[in-house]
């Protein structure tokens, strides 16, 4: 019997990440490491996954996602236990844009947690995966990173940073067996977007989004839009002249 795949999920309490984990474990048991900020919330996720897949091994790690040293130490601990097959970097927050414009502290935190922190994690995993010449790094970006819009450009700027970073990492690792997938979900039904539901924003079901992500990662796709229609929508948005774009209320 071949050994179980080792899957690390950073930000395991994110609804999208959690649904990816459920799908992976539905297909076959895995050696799962869940990283999160809030111990109680990760334990809830771990207990759920253990019921879904009793044959899997599930470990929990708590870490400070803003501290480079903590990030490095945590990834070292994981990598020293053997090579990682998939690292899904999924953490993030979506504060109201208006609040980011008033509160610079919140603005900086938003840029850090959605932009810098995922990059630091990816950089650590890349080092180990490059050395062992195996594994996949999957980072959750966003369609919001494709073009700045007044409704969420601070969040979008951080996600845009992740986008440019992933491009560079793909370039760097192109000659190796290590894969880098950048995931760009559209607005998805998760606790993070609960406030959008009452504004009648159309949200995609999280299990559909997770299924596209898991399939895209298995296929080694460079960029995964979920749902797929966002690839086309964002292509149009990205190429729209500013003279028109800046008149749109989006």
């Amino acid at each position: 019997m071949r050994p179980m795949r080792k899957i690390v999920i950073v930000g395991a309490t994110s609804a999208i990440a959690e649904h990816c984990a459920r799908l992976w474990l539905k297909n076959e048991p895995a050696d799962l490491i869940l990283l999160g900020r809030d111990a109680q919330r990760i334990e809830r996720v771990a207990a759920d996954l253990k019921v879904r897949s009793p044959a899997s091994t599930i470990h929990i790690l708590q870490a400070d996602f803003m501290d480079p040293t903590a990030i490095q130490t945590t990834v070292e601990i994981i990598a020293n236990q053997g090579p990682v097959d998939i690292a899904l970097i999924a953490h993030g927050t979506l504060p109201a844009q208006a609040e980011c414009q008033v509160d610079l502290g919140l603005c900086r935190d938003t840029l850090e947690i959605n932009g810098i922190s995922p990059v630091l994690f990816a950089e650590c995993f890349a080092k180990h995966m490059e050395a062992s010449n195996r594994g996949t790094i999957a980072i959750i970006g966003s369609v919001a990173g494709d073009r700045g819009r007044k409704s969420n450009y601070v969040y979008g700027a951080a996600k845009g940073l992740v986008d440019r970073y992933a491009q560079g990492l793909q370039h760097r690792l192109a000659g190796s067996a290590v894969k880098v997938s950048l995931i760009k979900p559209g607005p998805t039904q998760t606790p993070m977007t609960a406030h959008l539901r009452s504004l009648n924003v159309k949200l995609a079901p999280v299990d559909n989004v997770a299924e596209l992500i898991v399939r895209g990662i298995e296929a080694g796709q460079d960029v995964i839009y979920a749902p797929k229609k966002w690839r086309l929508i964002m292509l149009v948005i990205k190429h729209m002249p500013s003279s028109i774009f800046n008149k749109l209320n989006i």
Partner: protein
């Protein structure tokens, strides 16, 4: 504010919808929301037990985590927003099944408890609440109550079938049951009148775990139909049916269930099924949940929505009462393609407001034709009242208060356990608050 409808699509009033996503802050949210509030799961109840127009709805579908499962004893602990479908799909391959499920698996555990739902095996295993061993209830004053058949049994009896009015159920422990696999030995037997139905039901109760029947509600008082029965089958592995889903894309401008469509449909359905009657091996999903693959089938009834009328009638006069009801329906020319007749067993109800009681239950859908439909319901109510039967709150959007009070004699006892911060359109209609 978000417009919210129940399964019958009779209304779409604005609600202040708040998602519950984390059990550890539910208490905080319940205390600090605008009252009255009401827990809301999948919104699959037909009428107004899951609605609270202009008020708060606490959406429980985010409480969708399993907590623990004991492979040896079959005890499952999960949050209240977990779907019946997810339990069945996860556990049946491991040899365990929910003992009781209703005709759709797209409902939450919390909703199953709050409506104390029943299934095709009521005569053997009772209702959903019979298999709940423990539950966690959070009240809007912040009190957390753990109850079960042996722990605060009064709170348990009030909450099972309590329509969400005693607090918000956040977690439950359920006793699953061993099952050999996902297959059932099933048999379809046509019957040509109600006497034959009751003979079949009596004869099947001992040897068959699941019994249900489709009745041609336009066949007059005669009551022909198809009796279906099934038992779990131990036949090992075989390829499972493909998950084929169809969606009703939109609500047509008028109901497509009408006199013109219904008579030929019922006649064709009866005769086609009669040709294919007999025994066969069936997967549990199409047998238990025949309409779940036709997503949003409720749209067929058009923009005005539809009512479901489900009552239970005591056994002794059940036959005559059902016959009288079928006559009224046939006379009115209204009726449904989803018409179900089934006998309940004698086990005592778990909850103070649990619907099932010994007797026979009849369930029918009716397009909302306004006054005309209400006139028919008044006639059906008179039969139910006369027979000392009662109507199922989970299906109801219009029963008169007095019929609810006579049908549910434990109501005064129940009222003491209500949460003052919780109310529904249903409770305001039939309980006054």
């Amino acid at each position: 504010m978000t417009p919210v409808s129940s399964w019958g699509r009779l209304s779409a009033h604005p609600h202040n919808v708040i998602s519950l996503n984390n059990p550890s802050n539910v208490r905080n949210i319940l205390c600090n929301s605008r009252h009255p509030g009401l827990a809301h799961g999948m919104g699959r109840s037909y009428g107004d037990v899951c609605l609270n127009p202009e008020g708060t709805l606490w959406l429980t579908t985010g409480l969708d985590h399993f907590t623990a499962f004991d492979e040896c004893t079959g005890r499952l602990v999960c949050e209240s927003g977990v779907l019946i479908r997810d339990i069945q799909r996860l556990m049946i391959p491991r040899g365990w099944i929910l003992p009781v499920t209703p005709g759709t698996q797209l409902i939450t555990v919390g909703g199953a408890i709050a409506n104390d739902v029943h299934g095709k095996n009521h005569h053997v295993l009772g209702s959903f609440g019979d298999h709940v061993k423990k539950l966690t209830l959070i009240r809007t004053d912040g009190e957390v109550i753990h109850c079960g058949p042996n722990q605060h049994p009064d709170w348990f009896a009030a909450t099972v079938g309590g329509l969400g009015l005693t607090g918000v159920i956040t977690q439950a422990e359920i006793q699953l049951r061993r099952v050999p696999g996902p297959w059932l030995n099933t048999e379809t037997v046509p019957y040509s009148d109600l006497d034959e139905f009751f003979r079949l039901a009596d004869a099947s109760e001992a040897g068959w775990e699941h019994t249900v029947s489709w009745i041609d509600c336009l066949s007059g008082g005669r009551g022909r139909g198809l009796f279906m029965r099934g038992n779990p089958a131990d036949i090992g592995q075989r390829p499972e049916p493909r998950d084929r889903k169809l969606t009703m894309p939109m609500a047509p401008p008028v109901s497509i269930i009408n006199q013109l469509s219904l008579r030929p449909f019922n006649m064709a359905y009866y005769h086609l099924k009669k040709l294919r009657a007999g025994q066969k091996i069936t997967h549990y999903e199409p047998f238990f949940y025949p309409l779940d693959n036709l997503l949003e089938w409720n749209r067929m009834y058009g923009p005005k929505g539809f009512f479901q009328y489900q009552c239970v009638l005591p056994r002794e006069i059940g036959r005559d009462a059902v016959q009288a009801m079928l006559r009224e329906i046939s006379g009115a020319g209204d009726g449904s393609f989803l018409a179900v007749l089934k006998t309940f067993g004698n086990c005592p109800p778990v909850g103070m407001l649990s619907f099932p009681q010994p007797g026979v239950t009849l369930a029918l859908d009716f397009t909302n034709h306004g006054e005309r439909t209400f006139k028919l319901f008044a006639k059906l109510d008179a039969i139910v009242r006369e027979a000392k039967g009662r109507i199922y709150p989970a299906k109801d959007a219009r029963m008169p208060r007095e019929l609810f009070e006579t049908g549910y004699p434990r109501l005064p006892e129940f009222t003491k356990y209500r949460d003052p911060g919780i109310s529904s359109a249903f409770s305001r209609r039939v309980m006054g608050s």
